[in-house]
């Protein structure tokens, strides 16, 4: 009915508002803990924007999060909640590690093979859950969470295998062969402020985000998956095999998270350490997807935001502020984004009620 869509209707406005609230709540908690919020936030900002190199680090930190964000966003668009991105991320990085350590191949080919292995592993992890859902009716949220833990212990098992484990002790795997690394050569790194981890990841993330957007919006596959996600009954009535569609969606979602694991390994870590707790890339992907409103392109920006916060957070100890403040802020933002849907309805309803006065 309302033709002109003002700022009060835009998703971005409420997202920014939520981010602002997140920082306010963070500030209150910091102050309560006896830390000057201005000092902490100042460090957060200067820690990210202080040097060109730092900004590049924010992009490096963002890359895996964009992938897990895309994974979750894709699942949301098809009516599934992929809370298993964490596990798919882990098996993805594990598969990339195996290919990266065990094979000796020409550089470009090696990288491609690692990516393929990671996507296959993530897709497999998602598909098992999908089969349990479609064949046996087992709720996917439950199995996703269990598969996160299976991936966790699988990783700790695999890195302790003799062929994978680091020679000469240490609680980690061997490093992947340099041919499997996606870190830029030194000449290119110089363009990025000499950041020693400047890598292909972010560019790949942008490319994949665009591909995901195209799949969702422009292809028959996307139509099918969205139809099932919005209304399973109508999709079936329309002749869509919804079980197959759900399985496809969960496999693609898993592949995206797996790719995130590979990017982190091949661009940042080079090896996998023994886990003592879940690393949280997959769960952070949920945050990224929620902030992005499940838009694949939005995931690039919300991933960057989270990446910058995470990287800036590592500097907080310099001002004696706990790094966990970042988690609190992100959590608060999600809370406010959830509330903002209600808020938006209230505000826009007020506007409409006022009729022309608005």
């Amino acid at each position: 009915m309302v033709k002109r869509k003002g700022i009060l209707y835009s998703h971005a406005f409420y997202t920014l508002l939520s981010i602002l609230f997140g920082f306010i709540v963070g500030a209150v908690l910091l102050a309560a803990a006896g830390i000057n919020p201005a000092l902490a936030y100042g460090k957060l900002v200067s820690g990210v924007f202080g040097k060109y190199k730092y900004i590049v680090y924010a992009f490096v930190y963002a890359s895996p999060l964009i992938f897990t964000g895309l994974s979750v966003a894709f699942s949301f668009r098809t009516g599934i909640f992929n809370i298993g991105a964490e596990g798919q991320y882990v098996v993805g990085s594990l598969a990339a590690l195996a290919v990266g350590v065990l094979f000796e191949l020409p550089p470009v080919l090696h990288v491609i093979l690692c990516f393929a292995a990671a996507m296959a592993a993530g897709a497999l992890w998602g598909s098992i859950v999908a089969l349990m859902k479609t064949r046996k009716g087992i709720n996917e949220v439950l199995s996703y969470i269990m598969f996160n833990w299976i991936a966790f212990y699988l990783s700790n098992y695999v890195i302790n295998l003799t062929v994978i484990h680091k020679v000469g002790g240490g609680e980690a795997s061997r490093d992947i062969n340099p041919s499997a690394s996606i870190i830029f050569p030194e000449a290119v790194r110089d363009i990025f402020g000499g950041n020693k981890n400047a890598n292909l990841g972010f560019f790949l993330a942008v490319l994949v985000a665009v591909i995901v957007w195209v799949i969702i919006n422009k292809t028959t596959l996307g139509y099918k998956l969205r139809a099932v996600g919005f209304n399973n009954h109508a999709a079936q009535y329309g002749g869509i095999n919804s079980d197959r569609a759900v399985t496809t969606a969960m496999a693609i979602s898993g592949a995206l998270a797996g790719l995130g694991g590979a990017v982190q390994l091949m661009g940042m870590g080079n090896r996998i350490s023994q886990f003592s707790a879940q690393e949280g890339f997959g769960f952070q992907g949920i945050t990224v997807a929620l902030i992005a409103g499940s838009s694949p392109i939005g995931c690039i920006f919300s991933g960057l935001f989270y990446g910058a916060m995470k990287y800036g957070g590592t500097k907080l100890s310099m001002v004696d502020a706990p790094q966990e403040v970042v988690d609190i802020i992100m959590g608060t933002i999600i809370l406010f984004i959830a509330v903002s849907h209600v808020l938006r309805r209230v505000i826009t309803a007020k506007v409409e009620k006022g009729g022309r006065k608005a």
Binding site: M1, V2, K3, R4, K218, T219, T220, L221, G222, Y223, K224, R226, A227, F230, N231, H233, A234, A235, Q236, Y237, G238, G239, I240, N241, E352, K353, G354, G355, R356
Partner: protein
């Protein structure tokens, strides 16, 4: 049934004066007047999208009028919201019920105004109040049943009781009969009688002329947001009401040319099926539909007709039997195969099966064909072709508002949603068209339109199976009428030989003859 009016013309309870409601440049209500008296049943008649709901939302405080004013019981009021409306004694029963499914009838009725003992819910007192209310107005409900277990008719009674419990004496009923069976409709009419006898006023939003004639004192007609007039129902005929609403003469008679039915298209033999509880719902049912004929399947809801349609269209599995389309078996085939073999259908539940409500109109129009040329090329959707088809169908089938190609279908009115489905299924142009309650919730203009297309399919030598609870619809359209009772066909008559009494008897499982 003889109708007794309880209207007291000396007491005006609602006066809406010169109401204008604009949304941006769009005028939804253009200087509308409405006066309701104590004990009156006042119908508001208008096509889908005429502005009836907007007017009621203004009265219920959901919208504030752009200009004009409202008097409640002689006092001018600015109704700030539903809470305020309820405090003024105005209650609304929405078309789509707003009940908490796993809660009991009692819990739903008292929800938000629960009698309490300390901090505890006093469920016994609540139950007593509910029983008292339901006895007072002769509305039978089971206070302890859960909503998910009771019939649509009883759910509606719960909604009405909910409003009465909150002390309403002016009840707005929005399309109350849209989802009711004929029996439930006549029960509702009686309930309305009990309410007005007790001094309540009822505002009835509807486009069913028969019901207006049966139970309303006065009727206000709205067309395209404009106030057309208020008439005494006793003074006008159904035809007059219809033409006031639509703005032109409407024919209820469907003109059908003589056709000789051709070869058998759909042949269903000896179908047996059980529902999810294991109860046998189809007990060896046989039915066939030939080219160039409309077969009407009449019956009271719950006698197996819905299951039969779901089995034919592939949404449900049967235990045994045979189903063929043009001689080819589609028994227990998946929906895709059924569709490709020549079955299209207008499903009973348009929001559940017929449409993806979040999808745009144009995307809903390709629901079965999104992978086929010209709408897809390889893996990619051809947006321009999809848009072009939508533009054409919106125009051809008069889907309103015009230019809704990319608009989510949930923003359309119910009648226009149904038109989207009809446009799609007629365009699919399969050998068999199954239409299940195709005019449910539609106004007379739209009903005329749907009937025209069903007959047109028949005249194009297609087979049409019409499943409907509206006996009038079955009788006016069908070449042959089959009556379903308790999971099998209890009788069959030629369309022109049918009379209501005979059909009614067969629907109740009475006489069986050929």
């Amino acid at each position: 049934m003889e109708r007794v009016s309880h209207m007291d013309p000396s007491q005006v309870v609602i006066a809406m004066v010169d109401i204008v409601k604009k949304f941006g440049d769009f005028v939804a209500n253009d200087h509308i007047n409405l006066t309701v008296h104590k004990g009156e049943v006042h119908a508001i008649l208008g096509e889908n999208g005429a502005g009836k709901s907007t007017l009621m939302n203004v009265l219920y405080g959901l919208y504030r009028p752009t200009s004009g004013h409202i008097e409640v019981k002689g006092k001018e009021e600015t109704i700030g919201g539903p809470g305020h409306a309820i405090a003024l004694g105005i209650g609304m029963v929405h078309q789509h019920f707003m009940l908490v499914q796993p809660f009991t009838v009692t819990e739903n009725i008292v929800l938000g105004m629960e009698p309490v003992k300390g901090i505890m819910l006093n469920i016994r007192e609540a139950r007593e109040k509910v029983v008292e209310l339901s006895n007072r107005y002769h509305m039978h409900v089971d206070p302890d049943a859960k909503i998910e277990d009771i019939s649509v008719g009883m759910q509606q009674r719960v909604e009405i009781l909910k409003v009465l419990y909150r002390g309403a004496d002016i009840l707005i009923l929005d399309e109350p009969t849209a989802s009711l069976t004929p029996q439930e409709i006549s029960e509702l009419m009686e309930i309305i009688g009990h309410l007005t006898a007790d001094g309540k006023s009822v505002i009835l939003i509807t486009h069913k002329l028969k019901e207006i004639k049966a139970c309303a004192d006065n009727c206000t007609i709205i067309r395209q947001g404009k106030y057309i007039g208020t008439v005494k129902v006793a003074d006008v005929s159904e035809d007059q009401l219809a033409s006031m609403m639509v703005g032109r003469d409407v024919t209820f008679k469907v003109s059908k040319k003589e056709m000789t039915p051709g070869k058998v298209v759909l042949d269903v033999k000896n179908i047996r099926a059980r529902d999810y509880r294991g109860v046998e719902v189809l007990k060896g049912l046989n039915i066939s539909v030939r080219e160039g004929e409309i077969v009407g399947l009449a019956g009271v809801d719950g006698n197996g007709q819905m299951e039969l349609v779901e089995i034919i269209t592939g949404l449900r599995k049967a235990e045994s039997g045979e189903i063929t389309i043009n001689g080819k078996s589609v028994f227990n085939a998946v929906p895709r195969v059924c569709f490709d073999s020549g079955i299209s259908s207008i499903p009973a539940d348009r929001q559940k099966h017929g449409l993806v409500m979040d999808f745009s109109v144009e995307d809903n129009l390709i629901l079965q064909n999104f992978e086929k040329e010209p709408f897809a090329k390889g893996a990619f959707l051809q947006r321009d072709r999809i848009r072009a088809q939508a533009t054409e169908l919106i125009d051809k089938f008069d889907i309103r508002p015009a230019g809704s190609e990319a608009r989510p279908v949930m923003q359309l009115s119910g009648g226009n949603q149904q038109k989207v489905i009809i446009a799609r299924e007629i365009t699919n142009d399969k050998d068999l068209l199954i239409a299940v309650n195709p005019t449910r919730g539609l106004d007379v203009g739209a009903i005329e339109f749907v009937h025209k297309y069903l007959v047109e399919q028949r005249n194009k030598n297609k087979a049409v199976l019409l499943v409907s609870f509206e006996l009038d619809e079955i009788m006016s359209l069908s070449d042959r009428i089959e009556v379903i009772f308790d999971g099998s066909i209890s009788g069959s008559v030629r369309g022109e030989d049918a009379n209501e009494n005979e059909l009614g008897l067969m629907m109740a499982g009475g006489a069986v003859h050929g």
